[in-house]
Amino acid sequence: MATYALRRLLLAVPLLLAVSLIVFALVSAFPGDPCLVKLGQRATAPALASCRAELGLDRPWPERYADFLAGAVRLDFGKDLFTGEPVAAVMAQKFAATVELAAVALLLAWLVGTWLGTRSALRPGGLSDLVGQLLALGGTSVPVFWLGMLLILLFGVRLDWLPFTGWTASEIGPGVPYRTGCLLAESLLRGEWAAAGRALQHLVLPALALCTIPLAVITRMTRSAMLEELGRDYVTTARAKGLSEAQVVRRHVRRNALIPVLTVTGLQLGTLLSGAVLTETIFAWPGMGTHLVNAALQRNYPVITASMLLFTVVFTVVNLVVDLLYHAIDPRLRAARPR
């Protein structure tokens, strides 16, 4: 198992190389450069030239790429072309904020989705089936920015129950010396209960908006997987053995139905961890999504490339974890030695 995991991780290395090369080359080939963005409409030729020299953009891109790679192996992705901040440190902050939001949203989606999916499968055509179907349809078809704005208008402004901006250290825990972008986790670890409470409040609306798609996908997948498993022979056997319906579902059906659900959950997690541009924009969430979009609009080459590398690692790791979880759930896979 360990060698399998290691092999999978090693295979990610050529993938990372390919991704970085493609991204770097293509982004460099686009018209317009960071100096134009910085200096704007009045940019003169000498100012542009000295700005390009300062940022090293006067050198051919393969040379700059080589430099980038040399730094990247030491996890040094250089400096942001605009702010001069280290790319890796800022990215760590943004990624932490994304992880916290994604984790809460996915947890919500998973708990509600598997419960609702299971109930729908057990009583097809019943009330929970109807609710599940509606949620699944709505979750995939309602645009997040619209839903987000409605949540803001209702819970943030009209009822004034929940905050919808201000995921900042000064708002969540004034005086707490936060060191990461995970404000909720760090508040809990530091025992700052009031701050943790505020962090949770701030998480509610963005997590609700963000969880709609994974919730829809997980509900539907759970329902269909459960229905499929319920019709199998081993279920009849289990019932014939005299097991109660609850035992049949809990011990046999759910376990088998979980495998496809896990696959789609893994995919959703990868997507969520790559940053949710719309949700982050609407709720002023300082995560990876808006960070990357800003960088792309500014032609901030090191930030774009480093972000894409991070997403590649995220997908590789999530896929690996999902594979390993298959083995934990399915004894048949454990028996057949993983190659």
Binding site: L39, A47, A284, T316
Partner: protein, 528 residues
């Protein structure tokens, strides 16, 4: 399984490729004039909705028998394209650095600003007479003589139609009523030190982006200059709400009769936030750092605004003959707008001790003499400032200022209504009626220091022919364009200069829409 990241990458790249777009096609119909109208996929203070304006302009031109291809480009690519002169028709605008006519006419229409690759005169208008008058007006000391030259230039520009001025958009800021009156400034941000009645002692400003750096000499953007204007002081500053300057760090100034030597007296006893004195040496340091490549805090590639605003005539800045005096030595008589230029954020005075201590990190640890001192900055989240009790002008009433990034304009408006923030700018014009209806919110609106225009590339066919340019001007229904593109929150522009800076010269009346005449002019021009 391993293919997924690649698919994600490919998808992202395809998306970017679409954003960037591709080159112009050839005109499609030989018998009919066919043009390409380029515009950027951005929102700017002078033109919040470029796409809508482009559609309206295209619609008007179609009615005059001109086929228009709309070409939307992502901002950096678009800027490169228009600065290189690769466009036919393009939408752009300008927001003033300083409230002076020169800042519009010289920047947008002087021949020296029309070099491909670095043009700000993107119509590539190179009329010798106009350039001569603009040059003369730049250095004329007598306001009446300057005004006469500008009137002359405006009339010629109007006749030559290198561009069609479209609109001057309003400056709009919305704030919680509890903050008390907020005044709008012509070219700087609202001066929050003047706010009187803050809620719990602090003002949270919601804005679309974060600052890039907080070093006044190197920044070029409004999100950076807003906090900078509160942390630092300049030698002179605008009297609230006007284009006149008043003493700030300089208590007085004078020049020799030739206007080549300018002496400023530095206000005595002013301290930086770090306790070091703001004396003549500190003032010299602020300017020489930008001018002198050998200065220890000079960095090639930075200080772009120095080149734009002072670099062409300031030779040297040195500590002056008398105690606490600073002398600007100029290679030629200083332009008429030299002193107001010193009120631009670029010429804020930083603490030399802090520059020495922090080096390049000064941009994240700014130390000035301003009414607020820097406390903290969380990247792309918020910047916090707190009152500096030792300010020479007296400590402000509001204790803390927070500049918070809320990228979505709709969310900013709702955050203002819910009380999460106290002040917001860059608002979506569509949300203004809702804000105005809210009793807890005030919307402040004033004519802006902007101009939005339709540029015609006069160096390329068919716009090398003035008849075609005039036909385009005649085909546009500006009032309707302003209504659609600015939701009516702008004035129709007649000249490239905002009317609150200089009214259109007497006798200069805008062309009324005249499709018949536009078509006739076009037919005449195309028949040659």
């Amino acid at each position: 399984m391993r293919i997924r990241p690649l698919v994600a990458v490919a998808g992202m790249l395809a998306f970017l490729a679409v954003l960037v777009g591709c080159g112009d096609g050839e005109p499609r119909d030989a018998g009919r004039l066919s043009l390409v109208l380029s515009y950027g996929s951005v929102s700017r203070p002078y033109m919040p909705n470029m796409e809508e304006v482009a559609k309206q302009v295209a619609g008007d031109l179609e009615e005059a028998g001109i086929a228009v291809d709309l070409r939307k480009l992502e901002w950096p690519a678009y800027l490169q394209r228009v600065k290189n002169g690769e466009h036919q028709l393009a939408l752009l605008g300008w927001s003033a650095d300083i409230p002076d006519v020169d800042n519009f006419l010289y920047v947008l229409l002087h021949k020296s600003q029309a070099r491909p690759g670095e043009a700000s005169n993107i119509s590539f208008y190179a009329d010798e007479a106009v350039s001569g008058w603009l040059e003369e007006a730049r250095y004329a000391a007598d306001p009446a003589a300057r005004a006469a030259l500008y009137r002359q230039a405006q009339a010629k520009i109007f006749a030559d139609v290198p561009m069609v001025p479209l609109a001057t958009s309003d400056r709009v800021v919305a704030h919680r009523a509890a903050v008390g009156p907020v005044g709008l400034e012509l070219v700087t941000h609202p001066q929050l030190r003047l706010c009187a009645a803050p809620r719990d002692g602090r003002i949270v400003v919601g804005r679309s982006g974060d600052a890039v750096k907080l070093d006044p000499a190197v920044i070029t953007d409004g999100e950076s200059s807003f906090p900078v204007e509160h942390v630092f002081d300049t030698l002179v500053r605008y009297k609230p709400g006007t284009s006149e300057v008043e003493p700030a760090l300089a208590s007085a100034w004078r020049s020799n009769p030739e206007r080549t030597v300018w002496t400023f007296t530095v206000r005595p006893g002013v301290l930086f936030h770090d306790g070091t004195p703001c004396d003549a040496k500190a003032v010299v340091n602020a300017f020489e750092r930008q001018r002198d490549p050998k200065h220890p805090h000079h960095k090639g590639g930075e200080f772009a605004l120095w080149q734009d605003l002072l670099g062409s005539f300031v030779e040297r800045v040195e500590a002056g003959p008398g105690e606490g005096e600073v002398v600007f030595r100029c290679s030629r008589p200083a332009p008429a707008f030299f002193v107001p230029t010193l009120a631009v954020f670029t010429f804020c005075i930083p603490s030399p001790a802090a520059l020495d201590r922090h080096g390049e990190a000064f941009a994240r640890n700014p130390v000035g003499t301003g009414p607020y001192r820097f406390v903290s900055w969380q990247s792309e989240v918020e910047i916090t400032l707190t009152r500096f009790d030792g300010h020479w002008g007296g400590a402000p009433a509001v204790k803390d200022l927070v500049f918070r990034r809320i990228p979505d304009a709709g969310t900013r408006a709702q955050a203002l209504r819910s009380g999460a923030i106290d002040l917001a700018d860059n608002l979506d014009l569509a949300t203004l009626p809702q804000l105005e209806a809210d009793p807890a919110v005030r919307v402040v609106r004033e004519p802006g220091m902007h101009i939005a225009y339709l540029s015609m590339n006069t160096q390329a066919k068919p716009f090398d022919d003035v008849r075609v340019r005039e036909a385009v001007a005649l085909a546009l229904d500006k009032a309707r364009i302003v209504k659609a593109g600015w939701e009516g929150q702008a004035q129709v522009a007649v000249t490239p200069v905002p009317p609150n800076l200089m009214a259109p010269p007497a006798g200069l009346v805008d062309r009324a829409r005249d499709l018949a005449r536009a078509k006739a002019l076009l037919a005449e021009a195309l028949a040659r």
